[in-house]
């Protein structure tokens, strides 16, 4: 892409480039090293200790890690985290692409109205949204049970957030409503920017609407899709507020994610070292995932 002339660069040039490079990197590196890498190193370090509040840390080697993989709750939390990401990322992408493909060529006001509405939960903020959803999912007078029972869809009230079978699904549903807004906005503008002459040419050649979409538009909105994949993955991993405010990981740890379980271990059970060990494991998983995602992006 850019001119790559590494081998032919003179030593002086390398030095100049290095100085300039780090000078430009400096402000960012300060924050990155200071508030991400340094705590991460600390995190790895303390994960080998039995650390708790106001007591000398005790070195215990890999004991935290050994315990982790025998901790049913942790393994459950790992599973839940994976479920959330694996379900919400593709669903968000497909759903927002579908909505955008329908609304992008509607009349101006209709399109912007839809876009605006789907964006509302994003800007409302997860805390405010959680307040309402908590009421909607209420076991006794929530709106879902009210509508469900009065239309006969469900026989008796379901304790949505208090039932292992439903709680995680409810969390994912809320997460979806708060995460499709941005992808829809991006897709609508991407679809509007698709080169119309290519589409017309294909139509003249007798391509169906579907073929048109798949062969031409899809290829052109690929960069947008990749960007959306990345931000949705990040968002799914950040899903903490909903869990803390709605279920606190319950019932029976069925909505625990590793992110919440770290918090739970640190401030409810005072097990800092153990929480850090979890953090390290999660960090490794996410780093690998990001690396793979990046490689995919590069190869496209």
């Amino acid at each position: 892409m850019a001119k790559n002339s590494g081998s032919s660069m003179s030593k002086a040039l390398v030095r100049r480039e290095t100085i300039a490079g780090y000078a430009f990197m400096l402000p960012s590196l300060l924050f990155f090293l200071g508030f991400v890498i340094y705590p991460m190193v600390q995190c790895v370090f303390t994960s080998f200790f039995d650390a708790t509040m106001n007591r000398e840390d005790i070195f215990i080697g890999f004991a935290n890690y050994v315990e982790l993989f025998q901790d049913k709750v942790f393994l459950g939390a790992l599973k839940n985290t994976v479920i959330i990401v694996v379900v919400s990322v593709p669903v968000t992408c497909i759903f927002s692409l579908w909505v955008s493909s329908v609304i992008y060529d509607l009349a101006g006001p209709a399109c912007s109205a839809f876009r605006c509405i789907f964006y509302l939960p994003v800007v409302t903020g997860s805390v405010a949204v959680a307040v309402v959803w908590k009421w909607m999912f209420n076991n006794y007078y929530g709106i879902f049970n009210y509508i469900g029972t009065s239309t006969g869809l469900i026989e008796k009230n379901i304790n949505w957030l208090g039932d292992e079978k439903f709680a995680l699904g409810c969390i994912i549903l809320i997460l979806l409503t708060t995460s499709v807004g941005q992808p829809i906005v991006l897709y609508v503008s991407a679809l509007n920017n698709v080169d119309q002459s290519l589409v017309e040419a294909a139509e003249v050649d007798g391509a169906t609407k579907f073929q048109c979409f798949w062969k031409i538009k899809w290829a052109q909105i690929m960069p947008t899709t990749l960007y959306i994949l990345v931000i949705t993955t990040i968002n799914s991993f950040q899903c903490f507020a909903l869990i803390q405010l709605l279920t606190s990981g319950g019932p029976n740890h069925s909505t625990d994610t590793i992110m919440y379980y770290i918090y739970y271990n640190a401030f409810k059970l005072y097990r800092y070292g153990y929480g850090n060990a979890m953090g390290v494991v999660l960090a490794i998983i996410i780093a690998l995932l990001s690396a793979v995602q990046f490689k995919m992006t590069e190869s496209k």
């Binding site: 490079g21 508030f35 409302t124 590793i258």
Partner: protein, 301 residues
């Protein structure tokens, strides 16, 4: 044949639009319910059958929200002295709103500036250690902040930043997603233009400022909105780092309201409306620029 196909696709379109309209309704509902709820009497809110439209509109909830706690509107601490200046006392909720706006704007600006520079360097400078730094950035960009919860908390404590808005801002700025994004954008800067600038005698900074920056502006914009929304909603860092009433953000304030007054739904709704309405207002202003941006794109495309 052509006619039939047209019908089918029109049919699909109409059904889809109807489904989307229904979905849109459910998406808008939480917000509708918050705003409506904030004007209801407590009896109406607590009634076991939902009241879709308030029979009686009251301002009690807002009155309660604003009379709860007070905080100074603003405060400045002069470094290295004990002098601090404070504004007039206002309801704490107003202060929370200002804190949140300040936090989100500063985080956004700092992120954009640092990331634009770093992304440019990563894309265009062939310096020693570049691959190492970039690999670190890629691996860390999706890392949830919960991972480094305790170490970060202790670090902020030793920097004496705990319970200040900076403890929320700095980790957001440190998060390397922005650098990654800007690096991807900066790859597109044509090398010839930079060469030309160099031949004209421009130094490194000037090259960046006059050549690279205008080209990556769209990327900075994307990053700006991403950071703004994310920091506005970054409940976790706020929860961990802020404690004093005057330092809270609006999301944290509402979460506290909810925990303290589980019985007073109206008050919570009022708080939630206060949190939602300003940013929605901002967003509605966006709308116009969205359209503009799109037409701009069409002309250029």
């Amino acid at each position: 044949m052509k006619q039939k196909q047209f019908n089918r696709s029109a049919c699909y379109k109409i059904i889809s639009v109807i489904i989307i309209a229904i979905l849109a309704f459910t998406f808008a509902f939480p917000l509708y319910w918050i705003i409506i709820g904030s004007f209801k009497t407590s009896a109406a809110i607590n009634s076991t059958t939902p009241q879709w439209w308030p029979q009686e509109w009251v301002l009690d909830n807002y009155r309660k929200l604003f009379s709860r706690q007070v905080a100074a509107l603003w405060e400045i601490n002069i470094p290295f002295t004990n002098i601090s200046l404070a504004g007039p006392d206002v309801p704490a909720a107003i202060r929370w709103l200002l804190n949140t706006v300040f936090m989100a704007v500063v985080a956004m600006l700092l992120t954009c500036i640092t990331s634009a520079m770093a992304g440019y360097a990563l894309a265009k400078k062939r310096f020693i250690g570049r691959t190492v730094v970039f690999s670190l950035i890629v691996c860390a960009m999706a890392l949830p902040k919960q991972v480094i919860l305790v170490p970060l908390l202790r670090e902020m404590a030793s920097l004496e930043l705990y319970n200040t808005i900076w403890a929320v801002i700095f980790p957001i700025v440190g998060w390397p997603f922005g650098v990654f994004l800007m690096k991807q954008f900066s790859e597109g800067i044509p090398g010839e233009m930079m060469e030309a600038a160099k031949i004209d005698g421009a130094n490194e900074w000037k090259t960046f400022y006059t050549i690279a920056l205008p080209l990556i502006k769209p990327g900075i914009g994307a990053l700006a909105i991403f950071t703004f929304i994310n920091s506005w909603n970054d409940y976790f860092m706020q929860l961990i780092m802020l404690t004093s009433t005057k330092n809270l953000t609006i999301s944290l304030g509402i979460a506290k309201l909810q925990a303290e007054n589980a019985t007073d739904f109206g008050l919570i709704m009022a708080g939630a409306s206060l949190a939602a309405i300003p940013i929605i207002a901002i967003f509605l202003i966006f709308q116009k620029y969205f359209t503009k941006g799109i037409t701009m794109g069409a002309v250029k495309g």
